[in-house]
Symmetry: C2
Subunit: 412 residues, 2 copies
């Protein structure tokens, strides 16, 4: 089955929002082995939406449209699609009542809006909207299938997962496309390329691609096989890549570094606390993003000013004066003190210069020391990160988690 | 001038990445009064890229293409565009030398890749790539202008800002489109709609639209006027909206809540410290995202466990036992203690239940108390936020910043 995705909304063409709906849909379709041929974005304009839809109908047999189902005058997707497909819009009383109930409950919206949203093309199948007012629509016309989904990402996602995917998986039975991603930290793209050059050159199915993302270098393995074979084929390639890249691989697919580290801490029944300066709370924020992190994350201190470093963390003034706040000694002391104060098994200390100001020739912006303290040992490493303030905060936090991860694996 | 944007890359159609290039370009073009008619995404496939380009050339006179300029075999944008426009590709020795120097310096890449990237269409104008190897390309053919830019966002952005925009602003002289956004917190979309219903109904130019974003309800004012009038027309509308919505408006355009609060703190020469439990470091992270925040942000404590609340923050055990860790009393105590410990003018305390577990009928997931302590007064407010763990962390942090903002404005 060939598909196209159409995103409707002038806000896209003004660059006011980033379209996360289209990639979400694309990924889901890929997992069913449905090839997406094109994605098109068009404004809230009757003539242009109609043009895009007519062109798409010539090329593919599945079209998923998002956006323009709202209650206001500029929401015209349903109206235009109905016109192109020569469908009459009819008021669906059941939907109307549901919308009215919902609006009353949230004390918002207007009757006029509800009437508009309850208009449904004559032959449409209605897709339930669990968390919003706009119902989704499926039209089946001459072997073509057209879905219209709301543009609000949360509503679209639930509808995609619970209505569209189950429907499509019934009718799509050929080879699947599946992607599997290995995530690496602490290694650059070119180094990865070098280590797996021969594998990269000899790839065909599965294919292997390198992507550089915020969360590190990612290796995407994409396979196209019948459902019963696909996982085995991916595993084979993964196996060879793991031999070459070892511990640089910290996770797969959606797994975040903090999730991986959290799982390791839980498994080993170890607790952790954090003293951070240049990362300013980000490391604690990452730890606590994980549900259940309270079983291993004890607490943290953001010692942004030197006074807090000495008053709260009890890092000796003398040490700060002699070695400087950004030094391996202070990082180690921070890690040790926070571990003791919070009564955790492991302490992490981070001190550095996030910039853009505050750098010197000896201690430039991006210089960061990260220390890990346990009752048995203390380690500290020096890093020089590039980028803007937020990038440096991010890289330092990820690297701290990665250092801890490597320590936790080593102790196996 | 009418424009279209084409994003090239199979990774888009597999949903592996979110396209941030297209909105960036769209926004820049809108600011020059250039209407973007369509955005199309197509895979790394010769036939399909050619099709999309040919269709676009029929519709518009400016096309901006991103992606597929890399050194590997699957990067074919330049090759396809040259074929469609009947341009010969020629090796540009100067570019080749630059790429080789760059690769040597970073110890990566291959000669074959460099040779490929240095192939330039015969009549092209070359756009400098300051931070990467792939040069950008401008082709001018029969009054049509085609830009090809790298897909790496950082490289594309610099090239867009420093090469494309200056070029286009010279040739685009008509009315501008400009958008101006007012950002609100602590008020729902329907309440905003109610307060400005008449303004919404009578809009034409500028137009007014409501958008619900992570950072709150946003009102987008979009005007289309000659450059000398446009700012005045926007200001007029903004003035009326501000009369209706007052302090709900916390910022404009790219301004974040933490930026606004930071500016207020700086202006009033006040310092702040944070004791947070359910937000787990996020509030400190937001404060410290702002460059120069060290002048007002003193430090923070993430008191995730009750032990840390009592050992580090010295919140009396008895209070926690009697009132519960999630209570207005503990929030106040946290705010006061962290203010005293860090020696700041203001202390913020947050305690709540981020979920998904840990809720009870009396204290459900999403219940959060936020307190602000100054030497003169202590306030605490109760909130019930909805959503997942990350949403609750986010809403609680934003609300804490907003409470502080309102306090700071009030004291004028």
């Amino acid at each position: 089955m060939r598909a196209e995705i159409i995103s409707v909304g002038t806000e896209h063409l003004l660059g006011q929002i980033v379209d996360t709906n289209a990639p979400y849909i694309a990924k889901k379709l890929a997992s069913l082995g449905i090839d997406v041929f094109r994605k098109t974005t068009v404004g809230d304009n009757q003539k242009r939406i109609a043009e895009v839809l007519k062109e798409s109908l010539k090329r593919v047999d599945l079209i998923i449209i998002t956006g323009g189902l709202g209650p206001t005058e500029d929401d015209i997707t349903k109206e235009v699609v109905s016109e192109v497909l020569r469908e009459r819009l009819e008021l669906n009383k059941e939907i109307f009542t549901k919308i009215e109930e919902r609006l009353a409950c949230f004390k918002k919206g207007t009757k006029r809006g509800a009437l508009k949203q309850a208009l449904i093309p004559h032959s449409a199948k209605i897709l339930r909207n669990k968390i919003g007012t706009a119902p989704g629509i499926l039209l089946e016309k001459e072997k073509k299938r057209i879905f219209i989904l709301p543009g609000v990402p949360q509503e679209m996602r639930i509808m995609m997962d619970e209505e569209v995917i189950p429907y499509l998986s019934k009718i799509s039975k050929k080879e699947c496309i599946k992607s599997h991603i290995l995530k690496l930290w602490g290694i650059g793209e070119s180094q990865v390329e070098e280590k797996i050059a021969d594998i990269l050159q000899n790839q065909s199915n599965p294919t292997i691609a390198l992507l550089v993302k915020k969360e590190g270098v990612c290796i995407r393995i994409t396979a196209k096989f019948p459902p019963d074979k696909i996982n085995r084929e991916i595993k084979k390639v993964e196996h060879f890549l793991r031999i070459r890249l070892g511990d640089y691989i910290y996770g797969i697919n959606e797994e975040s570094m903090e999730e991986v580290v959290g799982t390791l801490l839980k498994k080993k029944r170890l607790s952790v606390s954090v003293a951070e300066s240049c990362t300013g709370g980000l490391l604690s924020h990452l730890f606590t993003n994980i549900s259940g992190s309270s079983t291993y994350y004890q607490g943290g201190i953001v010692s942004y000013s030197n006074e807090v470093k000495s008053s709260l963390l009890k890092v000796p003034d003398k040490l700060i004066k002699e070695k400087g706040a950004v030094s391996p000694q202070v990082a180690k002391e921070m890690a040790k003190r926070v571990r003791e104060i919070c009564g955790s098994d492991i302490g992490i200390g981070i001190t550095g210069i996030a910039g853009p100001t505050g750098g010197t020739p000896q201690k430039p912006v991006g210089l960061v020391y990260i220390a890990i303290s346990t009752p048995k040992e203390e380690i500290s490493q020096k890093f020089l990160f590039s980028g803007k303030r937020e990038n440096i905060k991010w890289k330092a936090s990820q690297t701290a988690l990665d250092l801890l991860r490597k320590q936790l694996i080593k102790k196996n």
